[in-house]
């Protein structure tokens, strides 16, 4: 099996780091993505992901790790959303949109300051689109801490999260503390977004959370199966994308495609395949019956 991989692929240190950190980030993001989509929070995810770019731009200004920056800013936005919940559900998207715009504005400012202030990196592409091959051994510990915390929150609160997303009234009757569960979910979500942003950049991190989870939820109704499928699809998308980026160096005679594009392309491809496959299977079953 490993013999099918291109020569030198697994021997390259950047590839090893990318496979380990990227794979871990993809699994955490896909797992967190399942309850997130069940709660109908694809837009909030995208908003927090884009807002996290402000943190990525802030990190070099105040001298912290990029992952810390991403998590800090999306957590701040998440707490802002949670602090003043709108009176009506219909208004939630408006509030998200307003925070979203402000967060992107702050990102614009920090990226500008990155360029103009001494010591800033001015790396708009790095913050927004990331580069999984630039991860190093020093990123492993922060990634493991953030991912471990997200998985711990998920393990502790998964059942009430799922119950609250499927039927909030029933959950309340059963004694689920909706607010605490909501906060735990947001914390796990921001940690997963930070990890995903570290590997594919802030604005593409949505892909790691939404695409595998959406595909898994198309394929099965059972939460446990959906979680396993999502993790598998996320990992396949990440590793497939890394391999594709590595190979694109050969296909394009040296002008390799950006790794983040490749990862997103494979993830979306898997999502489309799942949706199409499910549709064909249903058609076939209807034909047989």
């Amino acid at each position: 099996m490993l013999g099918l991989l291109p020569v030198g692929f697994l021997d390259s240190a950047p590839v090893q780091h990318a496979l380990v950190i990227g794979g871990f980030a993809a699994v955490v993001a896909a797992l967190v993505g399942v309850p997130t989509l069940l709660r109908g929070q694809a837009f909030v995810t995208d908003a927090l992901a884009h807002v996290s770019s402000a943190g990525g731009a802030l990190a070099p200004l105040i001298g912290i790790n990029a992952l810390g920056g991403f998590v800090l800013m999306s957590l701040a936005a998440a707490l802002g959303l949670e602090a003043a919940p709108p009176r009506q559900r219909a208004e939630r998207d408006l509030q998200t949109g307003a925070v979203f715009g402000a967060g992107l504005g702050v990102a614009a400012l920090f990226l500008y300051l990155d360029v103009t202030l001494p010591g800033g990196s001015g790396n708009a592409v790095g913050v927004l689109f990331g580069s999984v091959f630039l991860l190093g051994a020093s990123d492993i510990l922060p990634a493991a801490l953030a991912g471990g915390a997200a998985l711990a929150l998920l393990a502790l609160y998964l059942r009430p999260m799922l119950l609250a997303s499927l039927d909030p009234d029933l959950a309340a009757v059963q004694g689920v503390r909706l607010r605490r569960v909501g906060l735990a979910h947001l914390a796990a979500l921001t940690l997963a977004i930070g990890l995903a942003a570290m590997t594919v950049g802030a604005v593409l991190s949505t892909a790691l959370l939404v695409a595998p989870a959406a595909a898994a939820l198309v394929l099965t109704d059972r939460p446990a199966r959906a979680l396993m499928l999502a993790a598998g699809l996320g990992l396949a998308g990440m590793w497939g994308g890394i391999l594709m980026a590595w190979q694109s160096y050969v296909w394009t005679a040296g002008h390799a495609w950006p790794a983040s594009f490749c990862i997103v392309a494979v993830l979306i491809g898997l999502n489309l395949a799942a949706t199409l496959g499910r549709g064909l299977w249903r058609l076939g079953r209807r034909g047989a019956a």
Binding site: L37, G40, A42, F43, T45, D46, A47, A84, P86, R87, Q88, A90, E91, D93, L94, Q95, T96, G97, A98, V99, F100, G101, A102, G103, L104, G105, V106, A107, A108, L109, L111, Y112, G122, N123, A124, V125, L128, F129, V203, L204, T206, A207, V210, A211, A214, V218, H255, W257, P258, S260, F261, V264, A265, I268, N271, T275
Partner: protein, 265 residues
């Protein structure tokens, strides 16, 4: 020279503000904030493609944003709309990254398309913004009543014989037009913030359609003018002031308004 550039950015910003104020009113009414975000940003690879292959900018951006509107409208029949929108958006952003990575000055171009470079608007940009803006306004005038009705109540619109699917496509096309007008010159962030902040404040303090629409446009204009002034005074990006003002307007609207009062007809 500097004054000339500044004047054209002033005009461009004002046209985009009027457009965003009008279309934002319907965005808020229908609660389609995600579409207002995803369509401008989803047209991002179009600008990149036009630059790389020397295509006509307006035609490419229009084609991409209308395609985006159609894909989102079609996909949302099969899956949940927010998921369809998110997947479309990340695919387009990834494609934009791929195309832009073939260009010189990659990082600068990315920054400009996201956050705008309003101080570099050319007369050609201006003609394009004005042309697309005029088409969008005519479309709004033609479809005003059905758009309002279907935004207020899907049931009511169905009773009145308004085709919901068609109206949805018209609405998304409007957002796409605003996106096409705004993206090349002022960036996706500005277009989005201007569609959400002023309109949501207007919606919360004013419960009649026409005054609400007028207030939305006025607030959008005030936001752009204030942001341009502050940006030229500080040298900071315009998008920062527009984004923060959008949040400020939303918060002010919530504090001043009655939340989400039913719109009087």
């Amino acid at each position: 020279m500097i004054a000339g550039i500044f004047a054209s950015s002033w005009v461009a910003g004002s046209i985009v503000a009027v457009l965003a104020g009008v279309i934002g009113f319907f965005v808020v009414l229908r609660g389609s904030v995600f579409a207002a975000h995803a369509l401008p940003l989803g047209a991002f690879p179009a600008v990149a493609a036009a630059r790389l292959w020397g295509l006509d900018l307006l035609a490419t951006v229009l084609a991409f944003s209308v395609l985006g509107a159609a894909v989102v409208a079609a996909l949302s029949r099969r899956t949940r709309r927010d998921i369809a929108t998110a997947l479309w958006l990340v695919l387009m952003l990834g494609a934009g990254e791929l195309i832009l990575s073939r260009l010189q000055g990659y990082s600068r171009a990315v920054y400009g398309l996201f956050f705008g470079q309003l101080l570099g608007v050319t007369p050609a940009d201006l003609h394009m913004i004005a042309g697309v803006g005029a088409v969008a306004v005519v479309l709004v005038l033609i479809a005003f009543r059905p758009l309002l009705l279907s935004g207020l109540s899907a049931d009511l619109a169905a009773v009145a014989g308004v085709p919901a699917g068609l109206l949805d496509l018209v609405f998304l096309t409007l957002v796409a037009l605003a996106a096409a007008a705004a993206l090349p010159a002022v960036g996706a962030l500005l277009a989005f913030s201007l569609m959400v902040g002023p309109a949501s404040a207007a919606r919360m303090v004013c419960d009649r359609p026409l005054p609400g629409l007028a207030l939305s446009v006025a607030l959008a204009l005030a936001t752009v003018w204030g942001a341009l002034l502050l940006a030229s005074a500080t040298g900071w990006p315009v998008g920062f002031f527009v984004g923060v003002a959008g949040l400020g307007l939303y918060v002010a609207g919530r504090l001043a308004g009655r939340g989400y009062a039913p719109l009087r007809r």
